[in-house]
Amino acid sequence: MATATLHANEAHAHGHDHEHEHHEPGFIRKYIFSEDHKTIAKQYLITGIIWAFFGGALSIIFRLQLGFPDLNLDWLKPVLGEWIVEGKLEKEFYLALVTMHGTIMVFFVLTAGLSGTFSNFLIPLQIGARDMASGFLNMLSYWFFFLSSVIMFTSLFLETGPASGGWVIYPPLSALPQAMPGSGLGMTMWLMSMTFFIVSSLLGGINYICTVINLRTRGMSFTKLPLTIWAFFFTAVLGLLSFPVLLSAALLLIFDRSFGTSFYLSEIYIGGEALPNVGGSAILYQHLFWFLGHPEVYIVLLPALGITSEVIATNARKPIFGYRAMIGSMMGITVLAFIVWAHHMFVTGMNPFLGSVFMLLTLIIAVPSAVKAFNYITTLWKGNIIFTPGMLFSIGLVSLFISGGVTGIILGNSALDINLHDTYFVVAHFHLVMGAASFFGLLAGVYHWFPKMFGRMMNKTLGYIHFWLTFAGVYSVFFPMHYIGIAGFPRRYYSFTALANNAQDSFADLNAFISIAAIITFSAQAIFAFNFFYSIFKGKKATQNPWNSTTLEWTTPVIVGHGNWPGEIPAVYRWPYDYSKPGAAVDFIPQNVPFSATPESNLPEETEEIENEKEIDGLLDTQNSVYSH
């Protein structure tokens, strides 16, 4: 009898081994064309980090121009070559830098680098799945992104320069090569690159949604999902519904550029000739673009907020305050994100009535955002806070989210937007609320899940230095920028010499200060890069659950293998935020601990749930059968 059982167990174990052997890939399949979600996540992360340094460096170059207009830039000639003319940045190249900085940061760093990394890494690990619903599509998703990156990167080296019409590439400027050199081949490559990028995003998004819906482990109901997963889920929904619209906008632009159509072009006289195009609408493009463009803000922001929820709860040793309100507000943001796009277009000549509708909707979206901020603050209240680097960046995120968010109330008001539209006030606003805040979310996530990714710890002290420099730096860069906006300085200006009242002189010092702060902040990121790459190889070995966290990813081995759990996938019995529960001996109870094992800390309604545990356990076979084929 005993032998038989043993034998059966062996057979079972063997079955698993067999499955693992079957999947044990060679170097190329393991590290390059990998279908393992963890490897793909790391690919996204490292590509994202490289892009972030690149995008940051571009901004430093144009900040030099803005902060020190008289500076001789000949020393940049070895890098920029012909783009430096007589010690000055070429005016068109300035616009190219602005455009590429925006494109790279918004799409390649904060969409692919953030959502791509953490959705891929955390969804299977936190919901208790062996991998994504389709590993192959997931792999394709990364490689489409890679292809898109290569094309965009190549466009930087064109003689006519990369796309230069701003990251929003409004036609006709972007449609007519005679309008600026960047609208030639550079623009074509931008459009190609973005097309592949959209394909990549869609492949990723479909996968995230399928995985969250279908592959949750037994007991993991939607109301037991960590807020990270909720955030990634909503992000994927947003992307899936809005990216196709950007694709259509891009396709129509390609048609206008290459096949003589007039979707966006009408009555144009340029370069000494009248073009034949009539009947198109340049505003149509803006509607299509912002139908993606605004949800994109939340595509960038929601994952960061999800990460923050998780990190703050863990390190405050408290449940996140208002779990359901958090989900509700994210849901509200997701829905509203689709019906506020035209607040980017108040002064485009759009029907003013439409402007009032969008103003109303825009200010409504401030409410769920405010709820989220209040909930984060309340989560800290009466906590027992441990300031890990991840926690510092999460608190920093909340601060930036508030500081950047409140000015949205001004810009969302169409009457006030008239004067502030396309000034530095807007630049300051969105850099704080979506740029810096999301970037802080990315960093918080890296510090927090690095042990799970690489089995080693990042150096904390370097993390603290990195945080304080970045936090003070980001505020020093973007806070004073509001003043320049209030003073009416338009954005995307090479210099401010044409403004009334010699305005460029009054803010010359401030512009120089911003540039210096930007350089310091950017340099401080080297500390992170060093810490990151050094710790991958030489970091202190991690323990299984270094932050004493409750979610499922910390039940996997320190070095997570293919399939994530060597044995059965754990079942889930409780919500993810049982921190510092009264009566419990330790200050955290992982999600896979049944209520029947913790009678001392159960709330009355939780004692009732003990009955359901058998039912959850009974689902094991069904769950295994999903993975057996």
Partner: protein, 367 residues
Amino acid sequence: MTYLIGLLSVVFLVLAFMIVSKSMALSKGIKGEEDSSIPLDGANNSNAVGFLIFLVLGSIAAAWSFLASQPDFLPEAASEHGIKTDNMFWITMGIITFVFFLTNALLFVFAFLYRYKKNNVATFYPVNHKLEIAWTIVPAIVMASLVFSGLKVWNEITAQAPADAVVIEVTGHQFGWYVRYAGNDDNKLGNQNYKLIDDTNQIGIDFSDENSFDDFTANELHLPKGVPVLLKIKAQDVLHSVYLPYQRVKMDAVPGMPTKFWFKATKSTEDMRAELGKSDFNYKLNCTEICGRGHFGMAITVFVDEPEDFKAWVAQQKPFLAQNPDYLTKVPEKLKAKAQKYIPVEAPAAESDSTEAGAGATASLRR
């Protein structure tokens, strides 16, 4: 002056360094003493204090830098609607500044107060519906009041221009602005067509429309003070945007889609010169929609004149047709008689040399 801001921030960074270096020293000493299962090091208290210091220094820096920059903000609006939007801007600013300080203060103070203490246990406090309802409703009410005051002003600004408004056409092109006035006789702009653009007729004025006979062009924008002005905004090549910072006017110029903005200027150039104490001050019309390499320099000078001065200036201007009599050939036969009255007698249209006329027009535009 703003160097002080820089100084403050340097202080900031130095402090950050100090905190961290102190924490490094502490962490070396304390390592191993604490419960090793808690991911804690000696820097925890320093980081908590760091947030408090950040709050105090940050608030001082924010308040001081604002006061220091304030003199360089745009002065009070020089248009009727601008005064309203300015008021609303500063009221909204007051509200959000309050919220900004309150929430950031709570965030940082909580971070400091509830830092890890041994034997302390966090309060298990997952939900409070009353609180949540409260902070859903309060922002909603504040937002609603802002929305409705905003809507009121927005509707006023975007309402139909008064019938007696002075109509001025502003056309953006790479990289400048063409200005066309409706003329001395009919106060109506004639038709315009992009296919009629040539080196002289740079706006493409259509002379088959009799309203265009008295239209004149200018390369600076003159506006009457205290009289409604309707800007009809066009673009020739790519998107541009009309921006009159002092008048708080902004509207995109879109090829193929005329836009408009009407307003009433309340301060003449002289008024603003007196207010700023700068005798050489001039208003500008800038471009705020990226349009190519010359985007940043795409500006013309704007003069806001007393109504009588404006009238005098208008009366002095010669219609485009008068300056370029050879365009008489573009006028249809039946309207020739009407057009003839704008043609100077000494220069019969048919015989005039077109290149000479072209040069004359350019000169007039550069006047």
